[in-house]
């Protein structure tokens, strides 16, 4: 006791900050000014909201989210969830959300594949190929996405009618009623394709988690676990009598039957997004690979590695550190830009929200849902990509 008192008397330091002190330090200087600024902002916000509420009251609209359970009297062109006019607005919005997620997810995957191919092709020593890629990238980057969507839409509408449509590889039909591709489904057994995939994914991740908890997760054991779960599911499928059915579309009368039909709007939107963002991703890939100096290549060659090994072990781990964060923002942009669907008539989230706002008059609630949903998608996607980025970054620093 007495020691401490003496100690204090000798070295008079500042007292450790308490909770209030910490908040005070975080809040920083100019405390009242900041408060006043935020108060003015809040006042403006309150004014706006009260104005909106007043206007809504004047035209006889009840504010709140109660309208979600009332029935929506419009049709949705296409949706993964069954929707008929008369279903609730909530269901309509969910259908729109699924459409948005579908096109964004497919768009991200396809744009990545195409972007990597184009990016690598652009690095080719072949002058013709490199020049071609250069022009493709410049043209797609320097014209508006909406213009490209209009173009793809015009092209989709200008395709021949199903009867005259040529079949590519006998199975893919490009018609003015949409694109027909072969569909893959599983029939004849208790499993659907989705259930099988879900089961395989669950089994695989359970095994990986177990390995990880046991501290035995290496590349080899991980690969083995994934292979094991895939074979198990396949065996189960075969044993239960499920057969994969590939259904190719075929001309029947005036229309094409069978297969999977992508509507012209969906096909145009997906093509537009994939083409535009593959150009952006190609640029990122090029920058990433070029960020690895030629010295690295030379050193790896001197060690006796062949080209495949150099790319896998030396170049990619370093390039991915540049590529991953940039691609993340490309994915976010792609998801946001899928909202341009509204301009070409694909029923995505934004277009359903717009219809909802126009038919119910609940525009503030509808837009709150819209912005909230996109924020949630964005946050989820950046969290996921951050996880991956941490892995890439760590791998780079430990090896």
């Amino acid at each position: 006791m007495s020691d401490r008192r003496v100690f204090r008397a000798v070295v008079p330091g500042p007292p450790r900050p308490g909770t209030f002190g910490k908040i005070r330090a975080w809040w920083g200087g100019w405390p009242l000014g900041q408060l006043a600024f935020l108060a003015v902002l809040a006042l403006f916000g309150w004014l706006f909201v009260s104005n909106v509420l007043e206007t809504m009251a004047r035209i006889g609209i009840l504010p709140g989210f109660g309208f979600l359970s009332s029935s929506a009297n419009f049709e949705i062109g296409e949706s993964a969830i069954a929707f008929r006019a008369g279903d609730t607005y909530l269901r309509a919005i969910a259908a729109g959300l699924v459409n948005t997620l579908k096109v964004s997810l497919l768009g991200c995957v396809l744009a990545t594949i195409l972007g990597v191919v184009i990016g690598v092709a652009g690095l080719s020593r072949n002058l013709l190929l490199a020049g071609l890629v250069r022009w493709f990238i410049e043209i797609t980057r320097n014209t508006p996405l909406l213009l490209q969507l209009f173009f793809w839409m015009a092209l989709a509408k200008a395709l021949p009618a199903p009867r005259q449509a040529p079949a590519l590889f006998e199975t893919v039909f490009l018609t003015n009623r949409g694109v027909y591709i072969p569909s893959l489904s599983l029939e004849g057994g208790p499993f659907g394709l989705l259930a099988a995939i879900a089961l395989a994914a669950a089994l695989g991740s359970a095994l990986l988690l177990l390995l990880r908890l046991a501290g035995r997760l290496t590349r080899r054991s991980g690969t083995a676990a994934i292979t094991l779960s895939l074979t198990a599911i396949l065996l189960l499928l075969v044993l239960s009598g499920t057969r994969p059915i590939v259904q190719a579309p075929a001309l029947a009368g005036f229309n094409i039957r069978g297969g999977l039909n992508l509507s012209p709007e969906f096909a145009a939107l997906l093509t537009g997004l994939v083409v535009k963002f593959s150009a952006l991703i190609a640029e990122i890939v090029r920058a990433g690979i070029q960020s690895v100096g030629t010295g690295q290549w030379e050193a790896a060659r001197a060690l006796g590695l062949h080209d495949g090994q150099i790319i896998r072990l030396v170049v990619l781990p370093q390039a991915l550190r540049v590529i991953t964060p940039l691609t993340t923002s490309s994915y976010l942009d792609l998801t946001k830009d899928s909202s341009l669907a509204v301009a070409i008539g694909f029923p995505d989230l934004v277009s359903i929200i717009n219809t909802t706002a126009n038919t119910t008059g609940q525009s503030m609630e509808a837009l709150i849902i819209l912005i909230g949903t996109f924020l949630a998608i964005n946050l989820a996607l950046s969290a996921l990509m951050n996880l991956y980025n941490n892995r890439v970054a760590m791998r780079g620093s430990t090896r």
């Binding site: 920083g28 909406l146 706002a357 837009l367 819209l370 912005i371």
Partner: protein, 351 residues
């Protein structure tokens, strides 16, 4: 010439047929091109119709007669045809100030003053204020609208962005939190959503005495939206300034605003200007979204031109024309950005 052509030949030979794989790639690419280019050439030139009216045009080739007939509409949309000198002058004014801003030798205070004056002049010109023939903003359209909205929003968003970036970097917790929330909210929302806010919410939120027209509402919301993006670019520049600069300036007895104005911001701006040019290119392309809320910008005017009953359905020609306009502007801007980046990186001294 005699020394250059053998070298060129060697480059071409090794570049196209250097190895067996290279030759394969060249041949495959040529085969692909031979499938694509001839039909395209036929459509653009050989089968195209250059004069006459819609009946003269065939479906096999491009109808350039449509473009000659509708070019005025694509560029200016519904602006009264006897007053076209006004939007033309607006385009010239904006081109002049953009060119001046692009040349480092003009960077300085006069340019900063010239910007708001030019924008004001453009606004008055388009409106035809103080004249006997005012033109309401719902008749504006085409290229001047695209350029005007772009220039106004970018110019107005930059000061807001500077404040946001400074707030995000400051030690003031309240302002910092506000800035982070604002920037993330804006960057998480698609621009279409922002335009819908301008269309649907803003008229309800503003008091009746203060009713703004659609163009102005869109400009306000786009400005607030772009400010978040510009703020992030500027923040990157602020982060690149070593803290010794600030400490030295503090030691000289300068206050916060003087430090930012005289020491930090001039250096930060020099770092971020190429990034801001790239952002500006993206923004110019993004103004085409104005079509979604029914403003006749360049792209929407092109679409409307092909909906004319006399010239129905020549969408491809219309889109091609505006694509060329967008491409020329954006391509030269991106070249400029690359040139500037090199110059700023190599110069070191005041550009």
């Amino acid at each position: 010439m005699t020394t250059a052509s053998p070298r060129l030949l060697t480059t071409l030979r090794t570049g196209l047929f250097g190895t067996r794989g290279n030759t394969l790639i060249t041949v495959t690419t040529l085969l692909l091109l031979s499938q694509i280019l001839p039909p395209l050439f036929r459509w653009v030139v050989l089968d195209a119709t250059f004069t006459g009216d819609a009946t003269a045009c065939t479906r096999d080739g491009a109808c350039w007669a449509f473009v000659t007939a509708k070019l005025r509409f694509i560029l200016f949309a519904f602006y009264p045809s006897e007053l076209l000198w006004r939007p033309t002058l607006v385009i010239l004014l904006l081109a002049a100030i953009l060119t001046a801003s692009a040349l480092p030798r003009f960077w300085g205070r006069p340019l900063l003053i010239a910007w708001p004056l030019t924008i004001l002049a453009c606004w008055l010109l388009m409106q035809g204020a103080f004249t006997a023939a005012p033109v309401p903003s719902n008749q504006w359209g085409g290229l001047p609208v695209t350029l005007f909205v772009w220039a106004v929003c970018f110019a107005a968003a930059t000061p807001i962005a500077v404040l946001l970036a400074l707030a995000r970097r400051s030690t003031l917790g309240g302002l910092r939190t506000f800035s982070v929330l604002y920037i993330e909210l804006m960057r998480g929302t698609p621009m279409v959503g922002i335009l819908y806010v301008a269309m649907l919410i803003l008229p309800m939120a503003l008091p009746d005495a203060l009713s703004l027209d659609k163009m102005l509402r869109a400009i306000i919301m786009i400005t607030l939206f772009w400010a978040a993006y510009i703020a992030e670019v500027i923040r990157a520049g602020l982060q690149a300034i070593p803290s010794g600069q600030r400490e030295a300036a503090t030691a000289l007895g300068l206050g916060y605003w003087r430090i930012q104005q005289l020491v930090i911001l001039p250096q930060a701006f020099r770092i971020v200007i190429p990034g801001m040019v790239n952002l500006a290119i993206g923004f110019l392309l993004a103004t085409s979204l104005l079509a979604v809320i029914g403003i006749f910008d360049l792209l929407n005017a092109a679409r409307a031109s092909a909906a004319d009953p006399q010239w129905l359905g020549f969408y491809n020609e219309a889109y091609l024309v505006v694509a060329v306009v967008y491409f020329v502007i954006c391509f030269s801007a991106s070249r400029y950005s690359r040139w500037l980046e090199k110059r700023l990186a190599s110069g070191g001294k005041r550009p």
